[in-house]
Amino acid sequence: MNEMDNILKIAISAAVEGGTILLEHASDFKKASQKESLRDIVTEIDRYSEKKIIDILKTCDPNIPVLSEETKIVLPDNCKSYWIVDPLDGTVNYVNGIPFYAVSVAFMENDKLSVGVVYNPLANDLYYGSRKSGVYKNQAKIKVKDTNPEECLFAAAFSGKNYNPATRKEEFLAFQEINDSCRGCLRTGSAAINLAYVAEGRLGGCWGKANKIWDIAGGILLAELAGAVVKYEIVDKEKNLVDYVATGSLAYKFLGSKIKVL
């Protein structure tokens, strides 16, 4: 295997091992009775899964930094190659027993996303790809479904309510407009899976405002490799927040105009 094959191999392994930990602990919440203890448990599982993922990623090269919510590292300005990890995207779904959450692993190489993996452990859906290998779900190559916007199902992922309250009304208005102009617009709770679904053609497109970069890095690359029009912009570097849209080319103009990004 060449170097890129090896990076993809390690990313897949890390995502699946992290997902296995999420599955093993999915029932821990039944024991929790209060909201506070629920949060503690999920944080604990998050850390446990993340540690496993990072341990595997470090086997590739221990000097490559890992950017994630828990590591809280600040990348040096000259750092151009690093891992981006979300050990649990879709925390609210996970806590509530809704089977729609994922692990996301991406590799940024020379400031360019080069490997992406999104794994939904409950569905056994493994999305993976690299610029060299193309993009797959489990066995099969996948590609974006290019459909007219009115025939599309979209998904959205807004910012948390505390980030920028001033824009919340605008975001909900856009959500409503999109929802009423097509087959619907979902808020699934997992930006990573939204992007993977765009790559697979299940969704016609998705968009997000002020999402954490580790939520979307893996999925962004998968959607791009599968043929989506992908635009993203870092809107808050300190907090690692990104606005983005990923759709088939026919729906891009429609979606771009509604959410006024990029």
Binding site: M1, I10, V16, L126, S133, N138, Q139, A140, K141
Partner: protein, 365 residues
């Protein structure tokens, strides 16, 4: 007056075998293929050679044809052809559907999948789609000495072609049979031929050889392939009530064909698309499940399955199997890549024999 055939797929069956079923004395050929360089070469030469193995010798036939179209190129003869033949591989049918929609003539489906005619009917609306079983091994290449004479040479066995009797107006040197007989022939081909055939290829790939007969020259490989054939023959007797005499004859015949040193059947052709062959209802996983359901332990088929898991050909459409094999633990591989469920019999059997089978195959080298 000659009948005109439009043949999708200018490969082993399309060029190597079809001209022996539908003789150039009575039929004109038009080809369609996706391979641009092959189309260019064919159109430049306007002919190719196909060799049939009869009594251990090659019988040659030089085939002239009208044209080889690139898929999606406009086909001038679209209104004049008498029948269409497809030999593109089951997975590629969706790629040719838009083309097929332009015709209302009978379509004879030479695909290695009995559901292909129904798929074409549902996608095109043409009700005149008929299944054909080429009981033959045809190679998409030829030994060097034949390719020196004509680089487009192919080799085929002297096979038998079974076609749904509803298409008999097309004629040709083939047997038009009823639905029941077609089903019997398909069962035999699917399980006694297809399963051991691809196992021979996957084991051959691990051995590092290029042609199927070379794989069969390895005693351990022959033992695995023969064992898999016996396991499948037992299934046909137990589950489908085929006559023992027919099954034994078929199995013996198949083993001999796999060993045919004149055929030069490339491993890369037979092993192509391992994920398709490993699908839950297909010739490897599906066959092993059938064995288990009949109380037969599919030891040799499981070795073949493991060999398919290890298939490493960067130019294969399913080359990603190597990423999954290299990345995932055995149980995760079976769940994620194979869609087997933890706890089911085959999952547990494959898992319990994982290291043993892997070592056994690695030791073949």
């Amino acid at each position: 007056m000659k009948k005109k055939l439009l043949i999708y797929g200018a490969g082993a069956i399309g060029r190597g075998y079809i001209p022996w079923v539908f003789s150039p004395d009575n039929y004109d050929y038009y080809y369609v293929d996706v391979d641009k360089s092959l189309c260019t070469l064919l159109n430049k030469n306007k002919k190719f050679s196909t060799y049939k193995i009869v009594d251990g010798k090659y019988e040659a036939r030089e085939i002239s044809f009208e044209k080889c179209y690139l898929l999606n190129e406009e086909i001038k003869e679209s209104l004049n052809v008498d029948a269409i033949i497809t030999a593109v591989g089951p997975r590629n049918i969706p790629l040719i559907v838009d083309n097929l929609k332009k015709f209302s003539v009978p379509i004879i489906c030479f695909e290695n999948d009995s559901s292909s005619p129904d798929l074409i009917i549902s996608l095109t609306g043409n009700q005149k789609v008929f299944f054909a079983i080429p009981d033959v091994i045809a190679s998409n290449t030829a030994p060097e000495e034949l390719r020196d004479k004509d680089p487009l040479s192919l080799v085929t066995e002297n096979g038998v072609c079974y076609i749904d009797e509803k298409a008999k107006e097309l004629g040709g040197d083939c047997l038009y049979i009823d639905k029941e007989e077609l089903e019997k022939q398909w069962m035999a081909k699917l399980y006694i031929h297809n399963t051991p055939h691809c196992i021979a290829a996957y084991v051959g790939s691990l051995l590092g050889v290029n042609y199927l007969h070379e794989s069969m020259q390895n005693a351990e490989s022959e033992k695995i392939v023969g064992g898999a054939m016996l396991e499948m023959a037992s299934v046909l007797l137990k589950k489908f009530n085929l006559e023992k005499e027919f099954v034994d004859w078929y199995a013996k015949k198949e083993l001999q064909r796999f060993k045919n040193v004149l055929l030069f059947d490339p491993i890369s052709r037979v092993a192509r698309e391992p994920f398709r062959k490993l699908a839950l209802n297909e010739r490897l996983i599906g066959s092993a499940q059938l064995c288990i359901s009949c109380g037969i332990l599919p030891e040799n088929i499981m070795l073949g399955i493991m060999a398919a898991f290890c298939y490493d050909n960067p130019s294969d459409p399913d080359a990603n199997i190597k990423y999954l094999m290299a990345s995932l633990k055995p149980g995760d591989f079976l769940k994620i890549a194979m869609r087997l469920r933890a706890g089911e019999a085959l999952y547990e059997l494959l898992l319990s024999k994982w290291d043993y089978n892997l070592n056994k195959l690695n030791n073949l080298k």
